[in-house]
Symmetry: C2
Subunit: 569 residues, 2 copies
């Protein structure tokens, strides 16, 4: 319940040094990201700093992963925007309160799911759907930044809304803002190349270079803040972050009403699901290395309390960030204390740095977001998935288009629903084969795939799926068809090596098949029935009614039945 003890009781100064350095580097990345993602969520940049203070501290105490870095994340911020934008006036106090309330709800939902051991819910979302979901939302997030990048109002609930609003306002694009944004992108993309591919870069030791590369966004931002100050850019109509109260995160229960609660609930649930999926999949990778199990319910609880803390500290929903977790690990974080330290540093930063940050042009933040997000937009997964499995491919495209053209949450729901239907569809169409013995072996193989031995009065059938009401009809029809084609048939043997469960519908169909075959003087046999299945069958009348027998191996079955056949009646 309180994993912190695990590492606290054997903590030493060496670990502290490592944790401290890691924390410092994480902060350097967190500050620009936090403000940027706050803007993605349609909130004041400072809330992005708040969003990293308490949650990090809480996760450090309750979380199971040593390196997972909790805080604002692009995808979640986007979902916050998608949830709140239709309901409240963006930028209004209600909107900001609603964001806190949303975090609170997300937290409560995760907490309850964790307490009541609903961790398995994560399994309801398949990888192709998540991928497609992330790619499509990344596209929307990148697009959403053009609002700041071009300094024109754009509606980004979905692609259609974006295009129409763009069509209306493109004449009013502010070229100065655009220029500044573009040059920021140039810097963000150019500097790394410069460091990597010039002699200058190679002076630095590799490990250090890697860290410098990570710090580039911060450096660029500092540079531009200076420029903005020196050349008084705001006077040229460049929008900047503006007035930031130099304060610690204010601890207060967000304003709420039942009506707001009900309006936010669906969105909150979706966000809770996604933040859980995102952070558990990051945490799981590290869990492997530390050779300790990750309890998904415990993670839900940690994430829940973290979000509640975000809700009461004027922030918005948070989750584990992949980029920062990787940095944290690379920088050598040893224990969750690293997160704890970053959180304290963040508190200090939000207090002292705010005065400098207010000079930061919004278009620059937009540029950093576009650069960092654009990497995610990649269509290769769609092609690969389609090649590997059509069903997964279809689910992927459904998710993609639903997210882009309806909205983020609906997209996710439709994606999930489609995977279920496609799975039921697959289960309902099992692979059934007539099998024969491979010459000179005891192995049996599909007669269509291999050169095998068969006998006229005996047919062996293998079904590669557990039997249930969705697919037993296929088996029945298959047997009717096979029987109708072969005259002089005496035995049908069903190979059950792939059957790990038989539900009642299937059981009754088997009894019916047995009964019908009996009338045609054909005996039904089963081979290689698994232990658990056999146990269950004892509760049924099939073993008594069965005209044939149960055989341990298919080879035994065929051998014995052939002998009986050849011997005189």
């Amino acid at each position: 319940m309180f994993p912190a003890w695990r590492w606290l009781k054997r903590y030493d100064s060496g670990q502290f040094k490592a944790d401290f350095i890691a924390a410092l580097i994480v902060i350097a990345i967190l500050i620009p990201q936090g403000m940027a993602y706050a803007i993605v969520a349609g909130l004041p940049p400072i809330t992005g700093l708040y969003a990293s203070v308490l949650p990090m501290m809480v996760y450090a105490c309750l979380g199971g992963s040593a390196t997972l870095s909790i805080g604002p994340v692009a995808l979640i911020s986007m979902m916050v925007y998608a949830t709140l934008n239709p309901l409240y006036q963006i930028g209004s106090p209600t909107y900001i309160q609603a964001a806190c309330l949303l975090a609170l709800l997300v937290g409560l939902i995760s907490l309850l799911l964790g307490i009541f051991r609903f961790g398995f819910l994560i399994r309801l979302i398949s990888h192709p759907v998540i991928k497609s979901f992330i790619i499509a939302s990344a596209l929307l997030i990148a697009l959403s930044q053009f609002k700041l990048f071009l300094a024109i109002p754009l509606d980004i609930e979905n692609l259609a809304a974006f295009l129409t609003s763009f069509y209306h306002y493109w004449r009013f694009i502010d070229l100065a803002t655009l220029a500044l944004g573009l040059s920021t992108i140039a810097l963000l993309l150019g500097l790394p190349q410069l460091l990597r591919h010039t002699r200058f870069g190679h002076i630095l030791p590799n490990k250090f270079l890697a860290i410098v590369l990570k710090l580039i966004p911060l450096l660029v931002i500092i540079l531009i803040i200076i420029i903005t100050y020196v050349f008084a850019l705001p006077e040229y109509g460049i929008q900047v972050v503006g007035e930031i109260p130099a304060a610690l995160p204010p601890i207060a229960m967000p304003f709420w009403s039942w009506q707001m609660l009900l309006q936010l609930l669906p969105g909150a649930f979706m966000i809770a699901m996604v933040s859980f999926v995102e952070s558990i999949s990051i945490a799981q990778a590290t869990a492997f290395q530390n050779r300790h199990q990750l309890n998904s319910n415990q993670e839900l609880i940690a994430l829940g309390v973290a979000n509640i803390s975000a809700g009461i500290s004027a922030a918005f929903p948070v989750t584990g960030s992949l980029s920062r977790t990787v940095v944290n690990a690379d920088a050598g974080a040893k224990t969750p204390l690293a997160g704890f330290i970053s959180s304290i540093m963040m508190m200090i930063a939000s207090f002292y740095l705010s005065q400098y940050l207010q000079l930061l042009p919004l278009t620059v933040l937009a540029a950093t977001i576009i650069v960092s997000i654009w990497k995610l937009v990649d269509f290769k997964p769609f092609i690969d998935t389609w090649r590997y499995s059509k069903a997964d491919g279809i689910a992927m495209w459904i998710t993609f288009f639903a997210v882009l053209f309806i909205d983020i949450s609906t997209g996710l729901i439709l994606g999930i629903a489609s995977t279920f239907l496609l799975m039921l569809w697959r289960v309902s169409r099992p692979h059934i084969a007539v099998i024969g013995r491979v010459q000179g072996t005891q192995h049996f193989r599909n007669i269509q795939r291999h050169q095998v031995i068969t006998t006229p009065e005996l047919i062996s059938i293998r079904i590669d799926e557990s039997l249930n009401f969705l697919n037993v009809h296929t088996l029945k029809e298959f047997i009717i068809a096979t029987v109708s084609q072969h005259n002089g048939l005496k035995h049908v043997i069903i190979n059950c090596s792939s059957i790990s469960n038989i539900d009642l519908s299937a059981l009754e169909s088997l009894e019916d098949i047995n009964h019908q075959l009996q009338k045609l003087d054909i005996a039904l046999h089963f081979s290689e029935v698994k232990g658990p299945v056999m146990d269950k069958l004892q509760y049924s009348t099939l073993p008594q009614d069965l005209t044939g027998q149960f055989f341990l191996t298919h080879y035994q079955a065929v051998q014995q039945l052939q002998q009986d056949g050849s011997s005189p009646p």
Copy 2:
């Protein structure tokens, strides 16, 4: 497309004689049943006769089963009542028109489903749900008859409504009607006993006795009609069928409006599903015997046109009747022409007999229904199912209570939904076992179930389910747990003998597991991968990335890896 040719071209007088006798017997049962079920549906008794004329003829031409007897059926009539009762004033012209329109819709839906090959839809309903559905509705049907049996108005949308209305009206029960009803039940139950267990019965040859037993309802009805006529029972307040127009089924398009159409659509869809399920499961049994395949799509088409014909001939939705199909087969029907003949006889009956039938007391019909339906009300299936499989048991109870306390269609939908959820739930919790070799064999078994041989640096895992996004997490967690328990582990072998499909989510998790194990210097191997699965894996990067190898048999894998282990590096 027109199966009739199959038997028409080799039809002879012998077959005709058999078909004619069968037809005659079927009719004798059909007349009382038809009128009774019409009343169940809240319609004039004559429509029950109409409902058997055209549909039978149509099915004879298009249907795939030789003996299936199409016509009014208790369950469907009940659903018709459940659909129409909330919408229209029972007995009103609109109600009757709506019934025809409903049949038309049911027909169109079935027809379209058949044309577009949606026959597989039948698989969406599991046996436990169907059983529970039939038992619960039988209960409701029986209860619904007390309206006529006690001559008081009763609301029978669900059990609660029934009880409240009964509480209101029980004082007004008409004792004369009740007495007549009870004596009818006494006759219907008593006469068979008399015939079976007294010397009188044994005079008759068995086959003939069987037929006589089937005719009892008709005989009782004739007897009571005579009594009613002689003693002028209507004057004592006994309600009779009353005025029946002596006419052939009037062919006419039922009155319709878009509004009605939309109101009836959901009900129509449910009825189409149920009638399909009922008639296909009856037809399938016979198909087996005639050793010809039954095309479920063709059956849908036949059923569809049959219902359309019902809709345009002043009738209501129909389907295959189990009781009459059995009688038809026992009486020796050889070809669908039997159905064709019954249909013509029915036409004559509905024309000439109507004048006698109008003296039939309603309570007598109610009594026949109660007697025939009550057989279906049986709770043994609930106990058996629960013993065999908890999941099926739960689905059964959900269906039962939903039908009784909400309404028939909602009950069916909830039942179906629950089976899906319970199946996904089961798929998400696969059986995973660490396996070891059984001393002196090449077989591997669960180490918890059997006494087996294992080696410290090697672990064999078997999962008894196809891998997909719902269950791969379980495997991953299982492996993390196992690995964390065993130090000095070198090899993990996954036995794939039960895996018939690996979806993309599972594939990626496997690659991840492989990648993570690699960092711990543990090699991942697969054994007994099925052909189709292996084919699919070729499209993935797993075979290249895999630290271990693929083995044909698990025995090979263990042998080889142990040798490598023992040999110096």
